[in-house]
Symmetry: C2
Subunit: 435 residues, 2 copies
Amino acid sequence: MVDFIADYYNKIETYPVLGQVQPGYLRTRLPDTAPYCPEPFETILNDVKNDIIPGMTHWLSPNFFAFFPANVSSAAFLGEMLCTAFNSVGFNWLASPAATELEMVVMDWLANILKLPKSFMFSGTGGGVMQNTTSESILVTLIAARDRTVDVVGVENMRKLVVYGSDQTHSTYTKAAKLAGIHPRSIRAIPTTADTGFALSPVLLRRVIEADVAAGLVPLYLCATVGTTSTTAVDALERLTDLAKDYGVWVHVDAAYGGSACICPEFRHHLDGVERVDSLSLSPHKWLLSYFLDCCCLWVKNPGLLVKALSTNPEYLRNKPSDSDLVVDYKDWQGFIKSDPRFEIVVPRRFSLVCFRLNPFSWSGLGYTELLNRKLLEWVNSTGRAYMTRTIVGGVYMLRFAVGATLTEERHVIAAWKLINEGADTLLKGSFYAV
Amino acid sequence: MVDFIADYYNKIETYPVLGQVQPGYLRTRLPDTAPYCPEPFETILNDVKNDIIPGMTHWLSPNFFAFFPANVSSAAFLGEMLCTAFNSVGFNWLASPAATELEMVVMDWLANILKLPKSFMFSGTGGGVMQNTTSESILVTLIAARDRTVDVVGVENMRKLVVYGSDQTHSTYTKAAKLAGIHPRSIRAIPTTADTGFALSPVLLRRVIEADVAAGLVPLYLCATVGTTSTTAVDALERLTDLAKDYGVWVHVDAAYGGSACICPEFRHHLDGVERVDSLSLSPHKWLLSYFLDCCCLWVKNPGLLVKALSTNPEYLRNKPSDSDLVVDYKDWQGFIKSDPRFEIVVPRRFSLVCFRLNPFSWSGLGYTELLNRKLLEWVNSTGRAYMTRTIVGGVYMLRFAVGATLTEERHVIAAWKLINEGADTLLKGSFYAV
């Protein structure tokens, strides 16, 4: 595969940049159903060569001058390989501490290079996060702004919320606003002209906002752009944020394209005024030599507002099993549990997950049994020799043992079962009663 | 890197499964600012070994029995490498025809293997798409359902919309509902018990829906689960969809975990009733040996509703430059255009994009000039030797020449300029007037 990719990059200039195929071309070349038998690697690479490459638009071609070209590097490729190999999911800190911590460190590094104020850094009072795309960055900040404002004006006034941009703001803004429940009629695209270099005019913006306020509407969010898609126009952040402050409007800066350039001292002035905005996003795949995948950097001044808007409602969760669960399942493993009267299977096994608990004493109440199983889980996980989670369903605290990792063999399940027994023995041998 | 990854997989069993570090450990080990000078590859790999791996939770460890374990394979790894290398963005068909077409073919293949009805296939009347996550699949279908219903009941009744699930539905559902503007009070989590194996009770659901309707609320969306996270419970699709139909509720099936198993005949009955649901998603990274990245398959019966809800509003777009633009920019290139009186730079260059047009005749109106430039763009792009896009700003149609691909050298820009000239010569030499 490494050789194939190297060849592709070597030959990329010889391919037509724009795919020269007709709609539907691929369906006629591939079978109607997935192949039942595996095929040799060479056959698959030949299919890629003959059927896929001719239908591609070659974003990395040196003759690609469309949209904004892509920037990549060998270093980025190696990084992608490593990330893929680790297959980490950092949905919370414990799910992979290094993933969260590295993201935090690197987002601060990049903020530093851009000379962002401390209010956007973890080492200050803010913080950064990688989003998949600019659309996502706009969506999550818009929702944080929406919920902040709805808390004040009441949900019954949600349809009075108005968002602002110019007629040069990326169309993804309209999409994000629609997703957030802003009516298309409440999305203001202020016209621009050559006089301002197609930048958003603060004078016009003030007039539009004033008219909206006079009409009883609620100004919510402004998306300013550093480097518009059409012509790389730059909106004047300083004047726009002055104005936005007067109306309590959340200001987001979409610097997807222009942001990276601001690392250079001669371009940094395009970010003047950034200390007064609420959030800023840029796409390293535009100029910072990284691949496209999931690579939009978003900094926010008040991460608490994002968390408040995006975390699932704690009140609601109180009536719901915690999602950071732990359960158990495996055909033979189910046999193990059944053979040990100290344990019980709480929910019949259906797929490859077993939900069980340690419940050795007929006299013990739910609270005692839960405490015992919490201790057991903590004991097992702290050894680093196996990792399980837990859940509470129907009021019963239980352990989740989920089998299915590619490398898991029967011996790993057996060893885990022994470990769980060792834990149960230790806990039941007295010291636990003191807890 | 290949060797490093192979070593990691070989040694993975020797690492503690759960990261054994304290919050903040990495910040103390890494410098406060990004390294100014490059470092040798070996140094970086040593950092990964010493600072990153000890802080990881090893999702691919055979001793990982938490959440749901990850499934990967060498084939998937090679596929990830190839996708990364191509760096394609398929935001529309032309942006990379093979990307869109392959996704369509493979989604039909997988629908076929799952014995989904034709109403979910491109070869039938529906279609499938890869989303990043289950959250995204729920979000986009919920928004499609929301907009469909709001069209009927009016935007002023949006806060009357109610969505349904069980207390076992994944917490991402609450998040998606909040993003879509559904008030947390309007998210119904029907309690489950051991009697139904913690599946959603159709009897209870009907009671809750009837009470909501009686209170003047509007039932909108039901998320049924095939394989809940806590205990792999399966909601009874047949009875739930019967009920949902009575109230015009959109039914989505979250089969993230259980869906893959339904490929096996002995599990397929868990999808009985799927022919009556509106949408279904499953995560191949749970059991189908693929890596985590951006891998949730979503099928919908009425793709038109998704497109309607998610595409940017055409009316609004009419007052906005089309986003599938074309522009131009490069320092030397700007010199080229200035040297040829037939061309003009329309917007001053700011970053690495030049916006220009062919405008040879002082007497020609905007309409004629636009037609001329449309023809020129078509001529250039159809050669396959270069790819540019276009935009309309301030009413002026112009070409976008964006420089910046990693492999682009000065010679490519010069060749593209010659090509543009060749096109202009051809068009102006007479045949164009006949168009």
